[in-house]
């Protein structure tokens, strides 16, 4: 298999139990470079647990996650040292949280938020760090004069865009997103989604996006996984699954979307 065809992220029979309760069970899939996978399902269906397993935040009870490093080696996350995993997390990966307060440093300026990853990998030139931060703020449509403001003074939509900039500054290949549009009003959501779609295409990002909003999934993802009670009940191309759902539960999900 040539490098271009090799998967970037492989999940094999992933499962996580919280004591007697099931977090998720038996999840397997492959994700290729530049591919967007949406994980949908109701609250408590195990979407977020799955994301935490994939990103190495939690160790799975069963199964394993492998990731193809930049040198081309497919390595199991469990075999990586903690230092390597954390390095991966702040260079080759990104994580956009639902609550921007978890993903940002609220007390330092936007510029420092974007620059943190650069400084983390050894950038020591203030002028260049700032120039890169400005460039990224521009790409996520934040006015340059807001660079020295703390994200606490930002609106919800701006915070999410700042999170994007902070994550993308090291040109990651894989970004995890946990309900990135949650809690935003519809027009702000639309703008964020538009921006996201452009960035994913430009940067050839692979993303795993967890959402309960089917329209977000339709707009951003190529493939979709429907989860219920910790298990994947249906997978396929996004359009195919949403236009012609096979499982009863998916049919219910699709039909319960309000038509404006």
């Amino acid at each position: 298999m040539s490098e271009a065809e090799a998967p970037l992220l492989v999940a094999e029979n992933l499962g996580k139990d919280y004591g007697a309760r099931i977090g998720c069970r038996g999840v397997s899939f492959e994700l290729h470079e530049g591919e967007a996978l949406a994980v949908v399902g109701e609250s408590g269906s195990g979407k977020t647990t799955l994301l935490q397993l994939l990103s190495g935040e939690f160790a799975p009870t069963t199964g394993k996650v492998s990731y193809r490093l930049r040198d081309g080696d497919l390595r199991s996350l469990a075999d990586l040292g903690e230092a390597e995993r954390r390095f991966l997390m702040r260079t080759d990966w990104g994580f956009v949280r639902q609550d921007a307060r978890e993903g940002l440093r609220m007390t330092v300026s936007a510029g420092a938020n974007v620059g943190e990853r650069l400084m983390g990998i050894g950038a020591r030139h203030y002028g260049r760090i700032r120039a890169t931060a400005l460039e990224w703020l521009d790409r996520v449509e934040i006015e340059p004069e807001r660079i020295d403001d703390a994200p606490a003074s930002y609106s919800g939509g701006m915070r999410q865009r700042l999170q994007l900039a902070r994550n993308l500054v090291t040109s990651p290949r894989l970004v995890f997103m946990d309900e990135p549009t949650g809690g935003l009003d519809v027009s702000v959501q639309a703008r964020l989604l538009d921006l996201l779609r452009g960035l994913i295409a430009d940067l050839k990002l692979a993303i795993v996006i967890v959402t309960h909003d089917l329209s977000v999934a339709r707009l951003l993802s190529h493939r979709i996984m429907v989860m219920r009670r910790g298990r994947v009940i249906e997978t396929g191309l996004t359009d195919q699954v949403l236009d012609d759902p096979r499982e009863e539960y998916t049919q219910l999900l699709v039909s319960s979307v309000l038509q404006a």
Binding site: A112, G115, G120, R124, Y126
Partner: protein, 303 residues
């Protein structure tokens, strides 16, 4: 270290204050021998891993936290009967904190004390490193309030420990970045973070950054004690200590331009002293011993 054969400073020109009789009822230097051994073990570990914050079982001391309980415990553990102790607070030998700690050890250890930097074998300090260069065989003990340089950016102790373990120090530069973006320059003037021996990030206690360069390759042993936070760390003699900075905003120690109004010394750290309520002020050496020696040297030359 108390009973060791560490090289001592050459015989003093003027005899320091004669050793006072030790007050009855106290073990030598207040702490019991087991406690001192425990602290010495922590100190040895700290010296072996320069800049690493070694935990120790800090004791209650007869003074409030923040007054130097960590420094006092370290001093008590390294103090020997023939040591000569100097205690300074902000460079001064005669402020409350310095006087009471000096008296404490006069009473409980009966050791000789001095105000002269070159006569002392152990110098306990809050904030300053004396202007007179330190020598081999001397020990300088710093009182540290917050040993963790990353604390204000990362409140979780578990996380900062991990960051030290994995050498993830980018966050410290975030702080310096913030300084520059807010003030146009690195506005941190004390507790200025340093990298020790190209490994551990260290808070040099609230010493002004003016003193940071003195830590680099110092011939004296530098010990840091944080009583409330229960940490001891150390910089062994002749160890590299580098102040963090950016390539385009390099570290500068910022020596004051003015000379000392009392002794005329230049390039030393000055205190601003208010003289009246009409805006009168003067700048004088913060290191009182250095200032007095200078003035004595100009009036009657000493050998």
């Amino acid at each position: 270290m108390s009973e060791s054969s560490a090289p001592r400073v050459a015989a003093a020109r003027e005899a320091p204050s004669p050793s006072a009789p030790r007050a009855p009822g106290y073990n030598f230097a207040y702490l019991d021998e087991q406690t001192k051994r425990m602290i010495r073990r922590a100190i040895l570990k700290a010296i072996a891993i320069p800049g690493y914050q070694t935990p120790f079982a800090s004791r209650e001391m007869p003074m409030p936290y923040g007054w130097g309980t960590g420094g006092v415990q370290v001093t008590a553990a390294v103090l020997g009967e023939d040591d000569v102790l100097k205690v300074i607070d902000q460079g001064s030998d005669d402020t409350t904190n310095a006087v009471s700690i000096r008296k404490f050890f006069e009473r409980t250890a009966g050791v000789r004390t001095t105000t002269r930097t070159d006569e002392a074998t152990i110098i306990q300090t809050r904030h300053r490193i004396p202007e007179a260069p330190l020598k081999e065989g001397q020990i300088i003990v710093f009182q540290v309030p917050i040993p963790e340089p990353l604390r204000f950016l990362e409140p979780r102790e578990t996380e900062t420990r991990k960051m030290h373990a994995l050498e993830e120090y980018g966050l410290m530069h975030v702080k310096l970045y913030e300084d520059i973006s807010r003030h146009g320059h690195i506005a941190t003037t004390y507790a200025y973070p340093v990298r020790v021996d190209d490994r551990y990030l260290m808070d040099p206690s609230p010493t002004p950054k003016f003193d940071n360069p003195k830590m680099n390759h110092s011939p004296a042993l530098q010990l840091f004690g944080a009583g409330r936070e229960k940490r001891i760390y150390a910089v062994p003699p002749y160890t590299e200590v580098v102040s963090l900075d950016f390539e385009d905003h390099p570290f500068s120690a910022d020596a004051p331009n003015e000379p000392c109004a009392l002794c005329g010394a230049r390039g030393v750290y000055l205190d601003e002293i208010l003289l009246d309520d009409k805006g009168g002020r003067m700048f004088a050496c913060s290191d009182t011993d250095f200032c007095e020696s200078n003035r004595a040297a100009t009036t009657e030359p000493r050998s």
